[in-house]
């Protein structure tokens, strides 16, 4: 038997040491995971920031009445007009191959950009005007200094001839880098320099809207019934086990279900946020139900009992006294579920949302794609300039995820009552 008064300090040093060791091991674990997080953020942000800058090239276009009919601006071939002004800027370029290189310095969108600038400001018409147009992806890589000129010409995307042209443009101040507004205001494109995320962002928003409208009422309805009204028997146990299982089902399975039922049986249109939202709603339902039940369970039973004692019906007791107190917890669960749904690609693959969609969707019945899908598609594209677009899209997705989780935390902090 140990004599406690005498041996109060038995092995104290050893025990203290093991305490210290454990604490340091814990700190080490946190430090390592933080380091990974920092590395991930650093690599994504340092690559992605490049996408916020877009190179432009100034071209002097002859917009006199001979070239552009002020009455019928749409009839003009802005493409040949643009080529002509590029040739004028570089009279020394003669061979067909070199001319092709020269035209390749500006984006294929450039002719449309000139047309748009004129429609916005018709006063440009009447004489030569210097307009800024988007540079092509390869020119952009050079202007932003991402081309290693020490490499042999064959190993570079940008040839010596193109570098000579670009150097001349840069020396004369006809090349600049500006904030890439287009990235946030335009849809997808095969040309990296004009590709934007607005269509994917709208698609994600519409999909989540459908998902929320469907899964939130259903989820909390199911949770309230199961927690407060359902008889506790074998059947309700079975349901509970199944809901918990459903939360762990791989998301692609929900996609297959959507393909079979929503597209196959109900004949809903493919690639639309409506179907995407319905599939994601199935996926988020278990998360919402489980979180809502936990929130309801944390409300002290005395609330309900007091209401019942004063003559309220069970439904009144629950809806007037229990649900309002549990609401912040339920909302938190819903937001966490939405954040999960925002990051999903696999179920969307099956219902045709992994697609190239240029037009920005305006309703849930128009074809759309989603943010993580856009990242997936860009990561797979051969063009080098898509690398930074991919990283930039990841930054946007991460920002939304962080915001949603932040809202969830704030809601819990602000509204939750502790008992």
């Amino acid at each position: 038997m140990i004599n406690f008064t005498q041996d109060a300090g038995f092995g104290l040093r050893g025990r203290n040491k093991s305490e210290k060791r454990f604490q340091w091991a814990g700190r080490g674990a946190i430090a390592i995971s933080l380091a990974f997080l920092v590395i991930m953020f650093f690599s994504i942000i340092s690559t992605g920031l490049g996408a916020l800058q877009q190179s432009q090239i100034a071209v002097t276009v002859d917009l006199s009445a001979e070239e552009v009919d002020p009455e019928n601006v749409g009839d003009t071939s802005f493409n040949s007009l643009l080529k002509k002004s590029l040739r004028n800027a570089f009279p020394e370029v003669e061979s067909r191959k070199d001319k092709k290189r020269l035209y390749g310095l500006v984006s294929t969108e450039a002719a449309f950009e000139i047309e748009r600038q004129i429609t916005q400001d018709p006063s440009l018409l009447g004489g030569p005007q210097t307009l800024w147009v988007t540079a092509s992806d390869d020119a952009d890589l050079y202007i932003s200094g991402q081309v290693d000129t020490d490499l042999p010409e064959k190993q570079r995307r940008v040839s010596d001839a193109e570098i000579a042209l670009l150097d001349k443009l840069m020396a004369s101040g006809a090349a600049r880098e500006t904030f890439n507004k287009g990235f946030f205001t335009s849809g997808d494109s095969r040309e990296p320099e004009i590709a934007g995320i607005l269509s994917a962002l709208m698609g994600s928003f519409l999909t989540l809207l459908v998902c929320f409208v469907l899964s939130f009422p259903l989820g909390i309805g199911a949770a309230i019934y199961l927690e407060e009204f359902a008889p506790k028997n074998r059947m309700s146990d079975l349901i509970e086990v199944n809901i918990n299982n459903l939360a762990a089902v791989p998301s692609i399975v929900f996609g297959l279900l959507g393909l079979a039922i929503f597209l196959g049986y109900l004949g809903l249109p493919r690639s639309t946020p409506l179907v995407g939202g319905m599939v994601l709603a199935l996926m988020t339902l278990p998360t919402i139900i489980i979180a809502s039940r936990a929130a309801l369970r944390s409300v002290p039973p005395s609330f309900k009992e007091a209401a019942l004692a004063l003559g309220a019906t069970p439904v009144q007791a629950v809806f007037h006294h229990v649900v309002p107190v549990a609401m912040p917890g339920m909302l938190t669960g819903a937001i966490v579920g939405m954040a999960q749904a925002l990051g999903e690609t696999a179920p969307l693959l099956m219902i045709g949302m992994v697609a190239f969609i240029v037009d920005v969707p305006t309703s849930v019945l128009e074809p759309a794609t989603a943010l993580p899908v856009q990242i997936f598609l860009w990561a797979d594209a051969p063009e080098r300039a898509f690398t930074e677009k991919t990283a930039a899209a990841i930054i946007v997705l991460l920002t939304f995820l962080i915001l949603m989780n932040l809202i969830a935390i704030l809601l819990r902090r602000k509204l939750e009552t502790r008992f």
Binding site: L268, P269, D380
Partner: protein, 345 residues
């Protein structure tokens, strides 16, 4: 009406409303191969910008998945066009016919070279198809007219001219069309150089195919996923490894990787176009004739795709890495498209 009946009625109305047949589409729907995806989307985007039609939707489902969707029915709720990095199979034509899709227009759009590349930091090599077969097949001839499990660990064991480095090749998984084409063109190409294996083709076609198409599974061939950018990154990190991917990725990453010469021919644009480079496959798309005139813009889209501006030698698809067909072949296919000639196997 009691509350319960009301709910029931509401549910019924909702379900019927949802089950209403899909409305007529005003947008072309394209599915299929991820290899053709960059080209198809480029044409779709230009088509949407230069005409009053809506930009077609292009889904990347893989060649097999695309044909399955395409052949699932003739209604407007099925895709109008499917892209394929291989020719349609007779079994797929049969599936189409079974589901009422009888009139299909075939369009061959160009070639895609498959390259074997390593990092710039590594040694440039010259391989023959036979070297590739011996390096990557599961079973190889043992020199006495029989097969043995692939014993080669180093490139110089196969061919003394090759560097003394470990055989390590990163490539697409079996689900990929690129892998199928690589097995058919490169492995089988090398396999056929052994006369006794070639003789097997007549006697036992399936045995011949299994010898020539089966890739070794002892770790020398590493399945690196469908993302070719990832393979390029891995090659950069490991100068001893080789990667198998499409020509457009070599072109875009020429500062990081170099293509190996195959049978003495470099994987270069002109050489693939002339048919000198041995590992090049044809790319196709298939159009549902019943939808022409029903879904607006299909004829115009086909005209755009088959215009010199798009698939010509100096067209914008060539800039994206598509290797154009010869002039005669382009004329030929463009005529077939114009007259909407049915597919003949």
């Amino acid at each position: 009406m009691s509350v319960r009946l009301k709910t029931l009625a509401a549910t019924t109305v909702l379900t019927t409303a949802l089950a209403a047949p899909a409305i007529a589409r005003d947008q072309i729907n394209i599915v299929g191969s991820s290899t053709v995806f960059p080209f198809s989307t480029t044409v779709a985007e230009r088509f949407g910008k230069s005409t009053d039609f809506k930009t077609p939707i292009v889904e990347s489902t893989g060649s097999g998945g695309g044909l399955k969707l395409f052949c699932s029915g003739a209604g407007v709720d099925t895709p109008d066009i499917t892209n394929a990095s291989r020719r349609i199979k007779s079994s797929e034509v049969a599936l189409c016919a079974e589901n009422g899709v009888n009139d299909i227009v075939e369009v061959k759009i160009g070639f895609d070279g498959i390259v074997l590349a390593n990092a710039i930091a590594g040694e440039p090599v010259e391989l023959s198809l036979r070297d590739i077969f011996l390096a990557l097949a599961k079973d190889v001839p043992n020199g006495e007219g029989a097969l043995q499990p692939n014993p080669y660990k180093m490139w110089n064991e196969i061919n003394p001219d090759l560097p003394a480095v470990k055989i390590e090749v990163l490539g697409p998984p079996p689900t990929s069309g690129t892998r199928d084409a690589f097995a058919e063109l490169a492995l089988e190409g090398g396999c056929k150089t052994f006369d006794w294996i070639k003789a097997m083709k007549k006697e036992d076609k399936s045995a011949y195919k299994s010898v020539c198409h089966t890739v070794r599974e002892d770790g020398a061939y590493i399945e690196a996923g469908e993302n070719d950018n990832l393979i390029v990154q891995k090659l950069e990190a490991n100068p001893d490894a080789f990667g198998v991917f499409g020509y457009s990725f070599l072109e875009q990453n020429s500062d990081k990787v170099q293509g190996s010469l195959v049978d003495g021919v470099a994987p270069e644009f002109e050489l693939i176009a002339d048919g000198d480079y041995p590992i090049a496959r044809s790319l196709y798309f298939y159009v549902k004739k019943d939808h022409v005139g029903v879904v607006p813009g299909i004829e115009e889209f086909l005209a755009e795709f088959t215009s010199e501006d798009a698939w010509g030698e100096d067209g914008y698809l060539a800039d994206k890495g598509l290797i154009p067909l010869s002039d005669d072949e382009r004329d030929d296919w463009a005529d077939k498209v114009k007259s909407l000639t049915n597919l003949s196997m």
